[in-house]
């Protein structure tokens, strides 16, 4: 057990070093909560440009299991976000790479990239946020965008006059 824990730590250190050397443009920051505990990271995700998420920043809680990288890390949004596949209250993310499509090729950084891309390509047919999905499915793009914008302004620090100047 200790050897595997050491292996997990080693890989995480490598990932961290790799991220620091070559930061992920989707992220504002990515780091373990403390240097002692490498299995708990906090990431800050940038809103995708050209979308109502633009200008917002979301904290994501990343928990790494003991048999990483064989099992996917657990990720959830700490900052509330309005998205059909992300739970409004718990921040749970419905994404297949976080479940059965996980493979050790993925890193924490690349997984966060897939979450970043989930923001632009929501899948309203398997919703965790039923209301957002319903608005999107009804074809009310304007309403959906303004809903997302409102949440981004309220919680994610998007400037309220963003994009109007």
């Amino acid at each position: 057990m200790s050897s595997s824990a050491a292996a997990v730590g080693k890989r995480l250190i490598k990932e961290l070093a790799s991220y620091r050397k070559d930061p992920n443009p989707c992220l504002v920051s990515l780091a373990p909560v403390s240097e002692d505990d490498l299995t708990h990271w906090i990431a800050v995700l940038k809103g995708v440009e050209g979308t109502p998420y633009e200008g917002g920043q979301w904290k994501i809680d990343v928990k790494i299991p003991t048999n990483y990288p064989h099992t996917a890390p657990t990720m959830r949004f700490l900052t509330p976000i309005c998205h059909p596949n992300i739970h409004m209250k718990t921040g749970e993310i419905c994404l297949d790479v976080l479940k059965n499509a996980w493979s050790p090729v993925l890193t924490i950084s690349t997984t966060l990239t897939t979450i970043h891309q989930l923001l632009t390509s929501p899948e309203p047919n398997s919703p965790l946020n039923v209301d957002a999905a319903a608005v999107l499915r009804s074809g009310d793009r304007v309403g959906y965008d303004s809903l997302v914008r409102l949440w981004s302004v309220m919680y994610a620090g998007r400037p309220s006059n963003f994009g109007r100047e």
Binding site: P69, D96, I115, S121
Partner: protein
């Protein structure tokens, strides 16, 4: 839960990213790859090309395991062989790969049929391992059993139904025929039980035939059945006190002629009485629907059938179902079906009760001897009893329909002043009685 469409794109991109950052074999392609993929992801980030290039050159020199992320340049790298099991550029330590494969096989051995493929290029990763006949046979058997489970469950349920139907069939034969004749039918002339195909198919078919005989759909097919099942032991002979076999064989024909007589002579009245108690709007609806359903060959069939169903399947409450049919189609049909099935399955017992207790004990003073002389066999008496029960039921329900229609035609709404008068009268009567 899984989010396939949303993810297919991201995964491709992340895979690209992973492969190009972790392992770069051909420097020229990866140099062009990385910046484009990054630019796709985020056009705004301005990145100077130099550090990227430097990193790639740096990475190109070292091998890096895609599972543990250690490269061979490091001192603490695990002492294991490098393996490149697939088409793409991913390479890994053999020990890391083996552990990953073991983990996959433990968690989802049924998902991919035991095949392991590279997470990026989907090439199947092949393992060289000692073959063991025993292991393969046992695993194959296990898989076969797993696949066979639904079939086995179905077979189990089927055989339970079969046994239940057979038991019901035996009970019915004993009820209708009485023990003596039943033994003759079931055991054959030498009283030795042998499981013939006639019994194997015929006994469990009994409840189905009884239920089917209530539905009009099978009317033309049913008369054939007795020929199959009664032609073996008793030769059919026609005599006046009819033999049991011929009575049972004649039953379907009797039924058909009874039904057609009923439709011919009583059907029109019955229909009229049903109409009398049906609100006008419901009638209109049903007429409309009939027009839609009407086929060239049988213009009046639906109306007739409904009228008959009402009379057959619901004793006194038949009219009720007719009215509601328009709005609560499914519910009424459901109760009709259960009524029909229950009635069909209870018929043998009713036949026996009537045959034994009424016909068998008919008082001598009222011609009981003549009855018993004409119908000497218990079986025939039971069958005749069942027929009488059916006819009685039909006529009672018909009478109820008639009465109901009469009631509807003559009833009036009371004015409230009348109601008050009646109440006052009743109160006066009560006080005077005291």
């Amino acid at each position: 839960m899984s989010n396939l469409r949303a993810v297919s794109q991201p995964r491709r991109a992340s895979g690209e990213l992973a492969s190009s950052t972790t392992t770069a074999v051909d420097s020229s392609t990866s140099q062009t790859d990385i910046p484009t993929s990054l630019i796709q992801l985020s056009p705004r980030v301005s990145r100077t090309p130099e550090p990227v290039q430097k990193e790639i050159i740096h990475e190109e020199e070292e091998k890096r395991c895609w599972i543990c992320y250690t490269s061979d340049a490091e001192e603490e790298a695990p002492k294991s062989d490098w393996k490149s099991p697939c088409r793409c550029t991913l390479i890994a330590h053999e020990s890391c790969l083996l552990e990953w494969i073991a983990d996959l096989q433990r968690s989802e051995n049924n998902n991919s049929g035991g095949k392991i493929s590279c997470p990026q290029c989907k090439t199947q990763i092949r393992l060289k391992q000692k073959r063991s006949m025993v292991l393969e046979v046992v695993e194959g058997a296990g898989r076969a059993v797993g696949k066979a489970v639904p079939v086995l469950i179905l077979a189990g349920v089927g055989s339970v139904v079969f046994v239940a139907c057979t038991v019901y069939g035996v009970n019915t034969i004993y009820a209708v025929c009485g023990p003596e004749y039943a033994n003759r039918v079931l055991l054959g002339p030498d009283s030795e039980f042998s499981w013939t195909w006639r019994l194997g198919i015929g006994l469990p078919l009994i409840p189905f035939v009884l239920v089917a005989s209530r539905a009009r759909t099978f009317e033309s097919a049913l008369p054939v059945l007795p020929l199959i099942f009664f032609c073996h032991s008793d030769p059919l002979y026609i005599s006046f006190p009819p033999s049991p076999a011929i009575t049972l064989a004649l039953l379907p024909y009797l039924r058909v002629s009874y039904n057609s007589l009923w439709n011919r002579f009583i059907g029109p009245y019955e229909e009229q009485w049903i109409k009398d108690v049906t609100p006008a709007y419901a009638l209109e609806n049903s007429e409309q629907r009939e027009n839609e359903q009407r086929r060239p060959e049988n213009v009046n069939a639906p109306r007739e059938r409904r009228a008959e169903n009402g009379q057959r399947e619901e004793a006194a409450g038949g009219w009720d179902g007719e009215v509601r049919l328009e709005n609560h189609n499914i519910i009424v049909q459901g109760s009709n079906i259960t009524n029909m099935i229950l009635g069909a399955l209870l018929w043998p017992s009713v036949a026996r009760i009537v045959g034994e207790n009424v016909l068998g004990k008919w008082p001598k003073a009222w011609g009981g001897d003549v009855v018993r002389k004409c119908l000497p066999e218990g079986v025939v008496r039971n069958v005749v009893g069942g027929l009488i029960a059916v006819v009685l039921k039909d006529f009672i329900s018909l009478y109820c329909k008639y009465k109901r229609a009469q009631q509807f035609r003559t009833r009036k709404v009371m004015d409230y002043s009348e109601v008050k008068k009646e109440k006052a009268k009743a109160a006066a009567a009560a006080t005077s009685r005291r």
